[in-house]
Symmetry: C2
Subunit: 164 residues, 2 copies
DNA sequence: CTTACTTGCTTCGAATTCGAAGCACTTTAA
DNA sequence: TTAAAGTGCTTCGAATTCGAAGCAAGTAAG
């Protein structure tokens, strides 16, 4: 076992605190915009955006949940809401009868289009307004490293299930 | 009004996505550790930590809520739980009869001590393990800028109240 | 084939969260 | 002084979240 220091360095501490602070200030602002413009929760927006990005506008429920780092039961709930509003459809997969495939609808894409500009504006004004181009480069590079490192850990839905 | 681009640059996009991804992967990991070791939610930990940092171990409820970017009603709920476990006390302020002052107890400080080492370990392993010292410097500097920028916006609890 | 295990999703109940409304105290201004 | 407005906190109800348990379909081992 290698020697692990008891504390973080002062710089690490300030990086960590700044990260949590930015995270908890940015999120409500983004959520407010999404709710005001498209009546979407942040999760719903993420789900629609992921579906919209998918080549055929389609994803399995589990892949959706992993993509947004979200519990499966929570996804079922939000997907129900999106389905009621006819922004997505759900249908059993032909390949695997257990699977449910979610697909974004035309209305879903419309809502995305309505919400995007404001979403981008909020992110630019809050996250990027005070940064230089070099800062943005660094931020992308560094957080990209961290994200890759975190992705290496097994995804939530892969957690082994308890024996019955 | 100046010309605002319709989209974000590719680098801004990847910085934004990496940020949200790190945020949503880091948080559950931290929460799990806090719950396992100290039976604390993330919010409860933040509240205790802020109280522990305060010179006299004391803060007004509103300042606590602003500090952790949290709704006041949610704070009331969590403070009740912490008070039941006798990790904090609440008492009316002598200065202002409306105010409630929260104070961390000895037991509260003990729980903090128990939880800290693991908390730090998780943060180091997940957030910093893959970064060089220079990266950490940059991250602290850049996110510090953003946090300062965000703090400039009025805090949540300052939102004007609707007329009755 | 058939039994046991695995996987994908949903249902369920408990816990947490928020905003609106309400109560009590404080400050302002006439 | 006293009414009106502001501030600090709590209560309330609705919405969201999670994990555990359950169901159904797939897969592996004998």
């Amino acid at each position: 076992m290698t020697d692990t220091p008891v504390s973080l360095t002062p710089t690490q501490l300030s990086a960590y605190f700044a990260f949590t602070e930015v995270s908890s200030l940015l999120r409500p602002a983004v959520e407010k915009q999404l709710r005001d413009v498209g009546a979407l929760s942040y999760v719903q927006f993420q789900l629609l955006a992921r579906l919209g990005d998918s080549p055929d506008g389609t994803l399995r429920m589990t892949d959706l949940a992993d993509g947004v780092v979200y519990s499966r039961s929570g996804l079922t709930y939000q997907a129900q809401l999106l389905e009621q509003r006819e922004l997505i459809t759900r249908s059993p997969s032909p390949d695997d009868e257990r699977s449910t495939v979610a697909a974004i609808t035309g209305a879903g894409r419309e809502v995305l289009q309505e919400v995007f500009p404001g979403h981008i504006r909020v992110v630019r004004e809050l996250l990027f307004a005070s940064l230089s181009e070099a800062d943005v480069d660094d931020l992308a590079r560094i957080l990209g490293k961290v994200a890759g490192h975190l992705r290496a850990a097994p995804p939530r839905s892969a957690a082994p299930r308890r024996r019955r």
